[in-house]
């Protein structure tokens, strides 16, 4: 049996479609209260969990593979294989702030306060640039923080940029682009080669029109 962790939220719909197109039955997955969905016919179990939890499940081996945004993956800092990127879930992780910062060389300001759901990535970004910053971890609407003076800047994912505009914020820098990614537990990759590999290959074949390169085919 293979256990697949799928991230809830905007990635879930496309992820369900991906596995359904491969012949798996995730009928109950659209019922948002279901946490575990079994497809005994195909010998698969799907775990539906918060995006930030997917890398953890996979690193510990509670799930063999997972589909998660690269944003959550980078933030988690886990040691897993990430053989392919999928053609959905595109977004960008950016630094944003009020328009006053646009020209006001924010890169030279000391002691900036930054609100984010991505404290690890944020600290890495600021310290790599030699900036002293105070990172404030928030769990909900990050855009609120600059409006009420909680923070000078925010680091968050943007899709269209509408939420930023609506809250009077502008993008100051892009940290990285993110897509949905397939991740694989290292022990499962070694101990259960056939099963894991068959799934990786199916996903990569289906996705090959987008795929720059994928791990299995690259060596052939």
């Amino acid at each position: 049996m293979i256990t697949v962790a799928l991230a809830k939220g905007r990635l879930l719909g496309p992820s369900i479609k991906l596995f359904e197109s491969l012949g798996y039955d995730l009928g109950e997955a659209r019922d948002s209260r279901k946490l575990v969905i079994d497809d005994p016919a195909r010998g698969a179990r799907f775990l539906i969990s918060k995006p930030m939890d997917v890398p953890i499940y996979v690193e510990y081996g509670a799930a063999d593979v997972g589909i998660v945004g690269q944003d959550a993956l980078r933030e988690s800092g886990v040691d897993v294989y990430e053989p392919s990127v999928l053609d959905y879930g595109g977004c960008r992780l950016v630094v944003a702030g009020q328009p006053a910062y646009q020209n006001a060389e924010w890169r030279s300001l000391a002691g900036l306060r930054v609100a984010t759901k991505y404290p690890r990535v944020t600290k890495q970004y600021f310290s790599a640039r030699g900036l002293s910053s105070e990172v404030i971890e928030v769990y909900g609407s990050v855009e609120l923080a600059p409006m009420v003076g909680l923070a000078d800047l925010i680091v968050d994912v943007v899709d269209t940029g509408r939420t930023l505009r609506e809250n009077g914020l502008v993008e100051l820098d892009e940290i990285f682009k993110s897509q949905a990614a397939l991740i694989v537990n290292r022990a499962a990759h070694t101990l259960r080669v056939e099963e894991i590999h068959a799934l990786m290959e199916q996903i990569e074949m289906r996705d090959s029109k987008f795929q720059v390169q994928n791990s299995r085919l690259a060596g052939r």
Partner: protein
């Protein structure tokens, strides 16, 4: 926030062990030590702390960062040992360099790393492992891997699989590229994580010649059986030697009947910064992270004055404890109501006998014996009661 008083708490990353957990851990440590000893290894016990300068030798930035450091009264920096390999290298390089080689050492004991919490990681944890010193042969590498596998079997972990790579291959393949540190790190990271899309982007950005481009781009796919060795591009003699060496190690493992438990993985570059040759990790069914890891370190002992090749591995004792679901609980044999010559005799024979010192009522003693897993009660009047 009002902080809680610390006097009843434990710092993050350490644990108290008692009763069955302590007994099971000691049992595992003994079984591992016995296995190593039967292969001709003798125990080495380095100090728990020593000068930071010694331990930081060749440790690499990450392990150095993770060391617990403190000062002695003269202001010199000391550190708790973060592994056994570096202290062993110091001992060999300063004291044992002129002995007949090879030297075979095993160790069992705690090491300390100031690590971020991650899968199966504590800040004080126990390593049991070996160092095989004074041989750079494929036979030495195969012995280290075979012994790691044998040790896992000895503690009842039969369903294992090892990955095997060679740090020398990637080293040789990138040797002529003169990559910046940043690019080199990014390249190794993408290869290690089998992150093919990121690797492709990076190789494009580096604008390498076609030969290097191909050799590196295919690395994430170069894992599996012996056939991956035929697919690897060898751009120079060192790369070819690295591949040939893996072939030789596989052939030696076949003599042990263990070649089928190995997955070659040329993208593997995890592990200690001091690794220069083969590197391997052992995985067991039911656990999502490695229980054993090791590799060859031919330049480490040279740091301490003598150029001696070596290979070794460590098994994470806490990790194998998680994997060993079989509860080898250490139960009592007998609960005796009073001390007697018979109790002393039984203990001399190796039975575990506990004497009641609380003067319990009969029923209370019977219940206590049951909870403790004893199979007999010896009453004051000499009666022996066999428990169900």
């Amino acid at each position: 926030m009002i902080s809680q008083p610390l006097d009843k708490q434990l710092p993050h990353g350490v644990a108290d062990l008692f009763f069955n957990d302590a007994a099971r851990k000691r049992a595992v440590e003994r079984m591992l030590a016995d296995t190593f000893a039967r292969w001709g290894y003798s125990e080495i016990i380095p100090p728990m702390f020593e000068y930071y300068e010694s331990l930081a030798a060749e440790a690499g930035p990450q392990l150095r960062e993770e060391m617990y450091r403190f000062f002695d009264r003269d202001g010199r920096t000391l550190a708790l040992r973060a592994d056994f390999t570096i202290p062993t290298a110091r001992i060999v390089g300063t004291k044992l360099f002129d002995r007949a080689m090879p030297l075979r050492f095993f160790y069992v004991g705690p090491v300390f790393r100031y690590e971020e919490p991650q899968a199966g990681v504590r800040r004080e944890f126990t390593q049991a492992g070996i160092e095989l010193i004074g041989a750079a042969t494929a036979d030495a590498d195969a012995e280290a891997i075979a012994l790691a596998m044998t040790a896992l079997r000895a503690i009842g972990l039969d369903e294992f699989r090892f990955t095997l790579g060679n740090a020398a291959y990637l080293q040789a393949t990138t040797r002529d590229l003169a990559l910046s540190d940043t690019d080199d790190l990014a390249l190794r990271d993408a290869i290690r994580r089998k992150n093919t899309p990121a690797l492709a982007r990076l190789l494009d950005a580096l604008a390498l010649d076609a030969a290097h481009q191909h050799a590196l781009a295919q690395l994430p796919a170069l894992w599996g059986g012996a056939e991956v060795l035929d697919r690897a591009d060898c751009l120079n003699d060192d790369a070819r030697a690295a591949i040939d060496h893996l072939r030789a190690v596989l052939a030696r493992l076949a003599q042990f009947g263990l070649q089928d438990f190995v997955t070659l993985d040329l993208a593997e570059n995890r592990g200690m910064a001091y690794y220069t040759g083969i590197l391997f990790e052992g995985f067991v069914q039911g656990l999502g992270f490695a229980v054993a890891s090791g590799g060859r370190y031919d330049n480490l002992i040279a740091h301490f004055g003598h150029n001696i090749p070596a290979v070794g591995f460590a098994i994470g004792v806490e990790r194998v404890m998680i994997a060993r679901k079989a509860h080898a609980t250490i139960a009592l044999d007998v609960v005796a109501q009073t001390h007697s010559a018979r109790v002393a005799d039984a203990r001399a024979r190796g039975e575990i006998v506990e004497v009641d010192i609380l003067n319990r009522e009969d029923d209370a003693l019977r219940e206590y014996a049951r909870v403790r897993g004893a199979h007999e009660i010896w009453w004051r009047d000499g009666r022996r009661e066999i428990l169900p």
